[in-house]
């Protein structure tokens, strides 16, 4: 079901001072699919995500969105295209409630006045659309939510805006088993709804549980972009640790 990628990066270079972090990186994400971005610490995953999200524009290379070349120089550019990044630290305001966080920076207004009822209704719809059923009230302040609930709010905020691409940076890193399961279900549901989902994860079980494709970075180079079904657990680990994958080993 591949078709054309909605997000297509080619030949991306990125340096910070004298340190070259990304070398000639290619990366694609397809609508309706979860693309797992894997790699060891320092391989350049976060830098690549920041290039995608417009936080650090790439030094060189092509950035294609739905086949057309675009320039993404700031998070606003990315958001205008429908690319949303959920960062690891979630970037939620703990003193505000769920509705206020979902609409932060993009409040609905009637004239000068905030349209609280419309925002609250939209928040209900968005969270129900993700089949989130663990929240007592959308008027709870974030400070009263658990880690998994906060992750859910951050994801809901990313998909509230007719997004096309959602990038999740280690959404399950700090979560317990049950909460991780919930978040992975949401990730899968996003893709099933037609979004292109990019999932950064260190956990191979999570990667194999939800992803359709795997892209592996090794020391700033993209060493493989493969379908998840075509590789084994061990091959992916080899790609991450040495940049090359051996022959498929005997399946155990």
């Amino acid at each position: 079901m591949s078709g054309t990628p909605v997000l297509d990066l080619r030949g991306i270079d990125k340096s910070f001072g004298s340190v070259k972090v990304l070398h000639d990186v290619a990366f694609s994400a397809y609508p309706g699919e979860v693309t797992a971005l894997v790699g060891d610490n320092g391989a350049g995953k976060t830098t690549l995500v920041k290039c995608i999200g417009g936080i650090h524009p790439p030094d060189r290379g092509e950035y294609r969105f739905e086949g057309a070349r675009v320039r993404v120089g700031s998070p606003r550019d990315a958001a205008a295209l429908g690319i949303e990044v959920v960062h690891q630290d979630l970037a939620l305001c703990e003193n505000l409630d769920i509705v206020q966080n979902l609409f932060l920076g993009r409040e609905r207004r009637r004239g000068l006045v905030l349209d609280e009822t419309a925002m609250e209704e939209m928040a209900h719809r968005a969270l129900s659309g993700l089949a989130v059923r663990t929240m007592g009230s959308v008027r709870q302040p974030i400070s009263t939510l658990s880690g998994g609930q906060r992750q859910t709010v951050a994801i809901a905020r990313a998909v509230l805006w007719d997004s096309r691409v959602v990038v999740l940076d280690e959404p399950a890193a700090a979560l317990g088993v049950a909460q991780t399961q919930q978040v992975l279900e949401i990730v899968r549901r996003l893709a099933d709804n037609g979004l292109a989902v990019v999932l950064i994860s260190h956990n191979m079980n999570d990667v194999f549980a939800v992803s359709d494709r795997i892209a592996a970075l090794y020391l700033g180079r993209m060493v493989a972009q493969v379908r998840t079904a075509d590789v084994t657990h061990r091959q992916v680990v080899e790609l991450i640790t040495s940049g090359v994958a051996g022959e498929p080993g005997p399946r155990r």
Binding site: P75, D89, C93, L104, R109, L127, S128, S137
Partner: protein, 427 residues
């Protein structure tokens, strides 16, 4: 969103905490009160400490000075005493919401008052030109402070400490050592010394009470019709009734004839009170109902998150200092009206600490992100009552300093403890 009837108790329990149950549950008075108790326990104190403090201080001073403290004249005196502190504190709430501090707001009020007085006395300008110029000077000072804090990124504590020193010099230069500029303009003097006609006071109070009740009920109805989170109507009505009672009781007390001699009559609400009321309504609207206000809270809660959400954090930072200094200018004008003069000491001394104390006592957090405009009014009353009551008791100056310091420390401790409570209450 299932509407199934839960089959077992367990399922019912599960539903209780999910599916936005709290939003769709019929809230009655009991459940709302239970929610309130939970919030208090979780460190969401709101206006509770300020109201408790207010009541206990009134009881204390009434007991210590039975005839004088609650006399008609003193109540009117109290209300004008609270005016400058409250206005200054209301501007500071914006700065405190970002977790910043403006130590220069007090002396800025002195500079602005001096500008106003000099324009009237030396240049013979009409009062409105003088007032507009004073507020403009306030905005200029605030812009400079805000720019240094937000763009140059000097900690606000240091910037405003420097302005605290420097602006005192400016006032001294304008007025001269030991000098005094008298304020005799009728309109300016009327702010703190003249009263509204009795009928106007009543009309205004009744209109405000009705408007408050109407907005509360309309909002409740809108939420109800669209099945959104709403409070029980009994509580909404009770809250409106309490506000109306407070407004009307205050008007009644201030409308009594408080003239010391039976030959004249003196009564009515001082003109400064509706001024504070208007500022309160304006600030509450801006903070609670506009995206600017929402962004102020967001930057105070998590500046990085606000930046990523596309909010111009620098602009918000500069703007709150502009607001604080503009309010300082108004506060300085009201203080000048109360004292009928501007001196090099205007806005110095305790002025700023009283205002910060007022905001914090009212419930505004020094850590940013929490606070309301009404905090300034509640806290301003508390501070004015302490100042006034200690004065009536003839307390020695050293003791007044000590007591006020302890009260400020107490308020800051409540703030810090509540914050600790909140962070441990997160599930």
């Amino acid at each position: 969103m299932s509407t199934d009837i839960p089959e077992s108790k367990e399922a019912a329990m599960r539903m209780a905490d999910s599916d936005f149950a709290a939003d769709r549950r019929e809230h009655d008075v009991r459940s709302a009160l239970l929610d309130y108790r939970d919030r208090i326990r979780a460190g969401e104190l709101g206006a509770l400490p300020a109201i408790l403090g207010l009541v206990s201080l009134v009881v204390l001073f009434t007991a210590l000075k039975p005839g004088t403290f609650l006399s008609k004249g003193n109540i009117a005196n109290l209300s004008t005493q609270a005016l400058p502190i409250t206005i200054l504190a209301m501007g500071l709430v914006f700065v405190l919401l970002l977790g910043e501090i403006d130590l220069s707001a007090g002396v800025a009020s002195g500079v602005c008052a001096a500008v106003m007085a000099k324009l009237i006395v030396d240049s013979g300008q009409p009062w409105y030109v003088a007032v507009i110029s004073a507020v403009a000077i306030g905005i200029v000072i605030g812009t400079a402070v805000g720019w240094l804090v937000a763009v140059v990124r000097i900690p606000s504590f240091v910037v405003t400490l420097a302005f605290f020193l420097g602006l005192q010099g400016v006032t001294l230069r304008m007025i001269g050592d030991g000098g005094t500029v008298p304020v005799r303009d009728d309109v300016i003097v009327a702010l703190a010394n003249k009263n509204m006609p009795i009928w106007l006071g009543w009309t205004l109070a009744a209109a405000c009470a009705a408007a408050y009740a109407a907005t509360q009920l309309l909002r409740w109805r809108r939420q109800r019709v669209r099945h959104l989170h709403s409070r029980p109507v009994e509580l909404v009505a009770a809250q409106s009734a309490v506000v109306a009672a407070a407004l009307l009781a205050g008007t009644y007390l201030l409308s009594l004839d408080r003239a010391p001699s039976p030959l004249i009559t003196l009564g009515g609400v001082p003109w400064g009170v509706p001024l504070v009321g208007a500022l309160l309504v304006g600030c509450t609207f801006v903070l609670g109902r506009t995206s600017y206000g929402r962004h102020v809270y967001a930057v105070g809660g998590n500046a990085e998150a606000a930046r990523r959400a596309g909010i111009n954090v620098t602009r918000i930072r500069v703007s709150v200092f502009m607001i604080a200094s503009a309010f300082a200018a108004v506060s300085g004008i009201v203080a000048a009206s109360r004292l009928n003069s501007v001196t090099p000491d205007s806005g110095g001394g305790n002025t700023l600490l009283y205002a910060v104390g007022a905001a914090v006592i009212g419930g505004t957090s020094l850590f940013g992100g929490r606070g309301k405009a009404r905090d300034a009014v509640l806290g301003g009353l508390v501070i004015a009552i302490i100042e006034n009551g200690l004065g009536l008791l003839g307390t020695k100056a050293y003791l007044s300093f000590l007591i006020t310091g302890v009260v400020l420390l107490l308020a800051a401790s409540i703030d810090a403890l509540a914050r600790r409570r909140r962070s441990s209450a997160g599930r």
